[in-house]
């Protein structure tokens, strides 16, 4: 009995897994194909009809991408997103590394208590902070500017980053610190020459997590960049497009793919750090 049922249950297992994966990937495939189809085709038939002539490559074009990047201005939004995400990743990582290093390897009164309080700030939902910060920003005149959103992402990213980097840095072997202290290195030299190079795996995960978090963020950008179109990142522009071009699927799909391309490349290229970073960061925000 068992010998007959085993191959059967194995093929059932494969079938279930493959169908699940197929369902998962189908919506994204549809988006990708549609983004390369000419507008009249998109309106006239579903994207799956391209499989009726699988080798007819004439039914694809880059026209939609040209339109969204040049005419609708997603090229500019792409650059804005980069211009927001890069400093919003580097600044908090630097600040968090300094703090994590001090919490891990320096002696000072209240060290534990301050650290617990700092990490405890993770529980605060961003919504709790927006109105007062918005008021301060408007007094300072930095609503709708890049420095404003860099600062905001830095503040929001710090508790988690400090915590993650602390866990890693405090786990470095203590002999490292004893011997180099004796050699007369200053704390800053130890930080630059020993701590940072050894922390590269942790820094990589944290960097990828924060970069993607900022890249994919909608709420923080909506609130602090307001309705200022020339600084708006992709997420803000695309969510506005959904309202104004709601039925022009060839444009929306191309626009969405413009915003997804970089994260997908990072995901496929750096999968290990990526998964680690996402798991570690799941408590944020």
């Amino acid at each position: 009995m068992k010998k007959i049922s085993k191959p059967f249950s194995r093929s059932l297992l494969h079938l279930i897994i493959i169908i699940t994966a197929f369902i998962w990937i189908l919506p994204t495939v549809g988006l990708l194909i549609t983004s390369f189809r000419p507008p009249p085709d998109v309106a006239a038939s579903g994207w799956w009809t391209v499989f009726e002539h699988p080798f007819n490559f004439t039914c694809y074009s880059l026209e939609n991408y040209q339109r969204v990047i040049a005419k609708i201005g997603l090229g500019g939004a792409f650059m804005n997103t980069l211009f927001i995400a890069i400093p919003s990743t580097i600044i908090p990582i630097l600040i968090a590394s300094f703090a994590a290093y001090a919490f891990a390897w320096m002696e000072f009164p209240g060290r534990k208590l301050i650290f617990v309080f700092l990490v405890g700030l993770l529980v605060i939902p961003l919504q709790m902070t927006m109105i007062p910060i918005l008021r301060i920003f408007s007094n300072l005149g930095i609503v709708g500017t890049f420095p404003g959103i860099w600062l905001a992402h830095t503040g929001y990213g710090l508790p988690l980053m400090t915590y993650l980097l602390y866990t890693f840095i405090s786990g470095l072997p203590s002999e490292l610190f004893d011997s180099s202290s004796i050699d007369g290195a200053t704390p800053f030299q130890i930080f630059i020459k020993i701590v940072m190079p050894l922390s590269i795996p942790a820094l990589a995960s944290v960097t990828i997590f924060q970069f993607l978090w900022v890249w994919n963020d909608l709420l923080v950008a909506l609130v602090y960049l307001g309705g200022t179109p020339d600084v708006a990142p992709l997420t803000v522009r695309i969510s506005a497009l959904v309202g104004s071009y709601g039925q022009d699927w060839e444009l929306l799909t191309a626009a969405a793919f413009v915003s997804m391309a970089l994260p997908l490349i990072l995901f496929l290229g750096l999968q290990r750090y990526f998964v680690k970073g996402i798991l570690a960061g799941s408590v944020k925000g």
Partner: protein, 290 residues
């Protein structure tokens, strides 16, 4: 520990401390204060904003929908994540399937919103259906449905499915790591004794994964209480799909009532804190077990 001057540690932590005070501590306290003031924060109005939150019809819809998200989304993502984690452990192409299921975590909720709005696309019967779901319905001779408009259950359920699509991969990866920690001999011994796969799952795997399942579930609850982007992009809370975070955004930027918006934020915080405490406790328990 390294030897430093007394001032050195403070120099290292002060940029972080300053920014955290400025961006998290002070604003949170201020928001609690503002929640007792009127729309432009000029007059003290007591708990009127909170009364509004618990009596206004749209607010109640938002609370109901967040509850619906918790009830439907959390069990579904955790269950699917668990089943997929256990099943793919048995095949050689596990890593490819994992990538496919985890992929939505890489893209923005806005991107996911567009992807799924296209899946749910609806056109009148006379036109060709370009949305996958309505094309499938048509294939089975059923009338196409305006998925995102049929209130209140179908459209909310459709939005929740987008969340499930995004977050199942996350649950799967964590549960899979934990599943691989179960000693193989234990499962083999049960198989030798003639236990069915289902029984092994129910009697051995599930009890051993319980702590991880608990942590993943509470993390999902916290996520869902703050759900914003998906709703903002796909329906903007219309047709009875409002959620708390989107409502707060509207009070803030559309109705310009900072008092009410602050009250909503405080309520959100109060709902989330217990979940986070539970999560931390469970996390600690897990650490001690190891």
């Amino acid at each position: 520990m390294i030897h430093t001057k007394k001032i050195t540690p403070w120099l290292y932590i002060s940029p972080a401390a300053f920014l955290l005070f400025f961006f998290l501590v002070y604003p949170s306290i201020n928001t609690i204060y503002i929640s007792f003031l009127n729309y432009n924060s000029e007059k003290f109005i007591g708990i009127k904003n909170y009364i509004y939150c618990f009596t206004n019809e749209t607010m109640l819809t938002a609370f109901r929908n967040n509850a619906l998200w918790v009830i439907v989304f959390v069990p579904l993502t955790v269950f699917l994540g668990l089943i997929i984690a256990v099943l793919i452990d048995k095949v050689k192409y596990e890593s490819i399937i994992k990538s496919v299921i985890f992929m939505p975590m890489a893209i923005s909720f806005v991107g996911a919103g567009v992807i799924w709005k296209f899946v749910y696309a609806y056109r009148p019967v006379s036109a060709a259906q370009t949305g996958v779901l309505n094309a499938i319905r048509l294939f089975f001779q059923l009338e196409p449905l305006p998925w995102l408009i049929i209130r209140p259950w179908l459209n909310n359920f459709c939005l929740i499915m987008v969340g499930v699509w995004i977050w199942t991969g996350f649950c799967m990866v964590i549960l899979s790591a934990s599943y691989k920690g179960i000693p193989r001999e234990l499962l083999e011994a049960a198989r030798v004794d003639g236990a069915t796969e289902f029984r092994i799952f129910w009697k051995i795997v599930l009890p051993l994964l319980k702590p991880t399942i608990a942590v993943v579930s509470t993390t999902m609850v916290i996520m869902v209480l703050k759900v914003f982007d998906i709703v903002y992009v796909m329906t903007n809370g219309n047709f009875d799909t409002e959620v708390i975070a989107n409502r707060m955004y509207k009070e803030m930027f559309i109705f310009r009532d900072f008092g009410r918006a602050s009250a909503i934020a405080v309520i959100l915080l109060l709902v989330i804190i217990p979940m986070i405490i539970i999560n931390i406790q469970r996390f600690k328990e897990q650490e001690t077990i190891r």
